[in-house]
Symmetry: C2
Subunit: 194 residues, 2 copies
């Protein structure tokens, strides 16, 4: 049986994944079936937001298949590192959560090997893994209805910008008297001559 | 003068932004010129990663114009809410940072109005704003060489997955004896019948 992912055939989705994500990663392929399952269980014609419970792979499936992106704020990420995503009505927060259900991996040994890292990467059979992902489709996932807590529905507003007296750059005034980078969180090495 | 953004004309980039981001947001348009300026100042033929200092708008410019996405891990976001991004050599961390330089906004009043929210959104002149963004191009930005600290160059590895004894779902064993969602950070309302 040929599986559809959103409006795409599996091969079309594969091409989109290669183009956006760089390579046909197992996580984004499974993620495609997860997003598709979630979409099919949302009411039609609603405005929805997305939540990924990991920054690995899944956000790209959401960004390829839905209008939700990191930069437009309709996709949020929580750092649970769980292979799960939710789509929900933007204002009320009612929706569905889809997760890779490891209890359903019994008959999909290569997916299980990959997901639990039971084999070193070199010994994994990439072709078999992709075949199992394509054949399994959303069968390895489970879906639950969810309700997002009001706190997490709040619009992520910047507020007023002001100029940091240390670096002279703009930052949200709500962050304090100096910007967060100057508060010590900078990822950059300080150069002596600056 | 017609500005180029990566391989695209301004109008082509505008279409890509509408398609990916949903609308022609000023932040993603300026972000396009910022990414373009950064790319032109990186050595050719290197593998590079990207860092955005805000989750607003800029990550989408990076995801449209470079191979770096959230899901493949080549794009990272730091929560400084500063309108700045860096591209840097993946392993050594040397690269460039581009930021919107507010000292250069003197002659671009509508960009300044938008960036500092000096006018209510309804009173902003969207067409003039877009014209100023297109004409200014990277002129409103500054560029500095940067060196990413070794800590931030580390590969973001998942480690082994295990099953959470509370929710029965997979999570990284390194997070502790139960998963982070069950540790209390869940964004979902608990249903009585579960």
């Amino acid at each position: 049986m040929t599986q559809k992912i959103g409006a795409y055939s599996f091969d079309e989705y594969l091409e989109l994944v290669r183009s956006f994500h760089g390579y046909a990663s197992p996580g984004v392929l499974i993620g495609g079936f997860m997003v598709d399952l979630a979409l099919r269980n949302l009411p039609r014609d609603i405005l929805f937001d997305a939540l990924c419970e990991t920054n690995h792979c899944l956000p790209d499936a959401v960004q390829i298949l839905t209008p939700c992106t990191i930069g437009n704020g309709w996709l949020k990420i929580m750092p649970f590192r769980k292979f799960a995503l939710s789509l929900y009505e933007k204002y009320k927060g009612n929706g569905v959560r889809v997760y890779l259900d490891t209890a359903k991996l019994k008959h999909w040994d290569e997916i299980r090997n990959w997901f639990f890292k039971l084999k070193p990467k070199k010994e994994q059979d990439t072709r078999l893994l992709q075949e199992q992902i394509q054949t399994a489709g959303a069968e390895i996932c489970s879906l639950k209805k969810i309700q997002i807590l009001p706190l997490h529905l709040k619009k992520d507003s910047l507020g007023k910008r002001t100029i940091c007296p240390i670096c002279q750059e703009a930052y949200p005034a709500s962050h304090g008297r100096i910007c967060r980078a100057c508060q010590g969180d900078t990822p950059y090495r300080k150069f002596n001559r600056e």
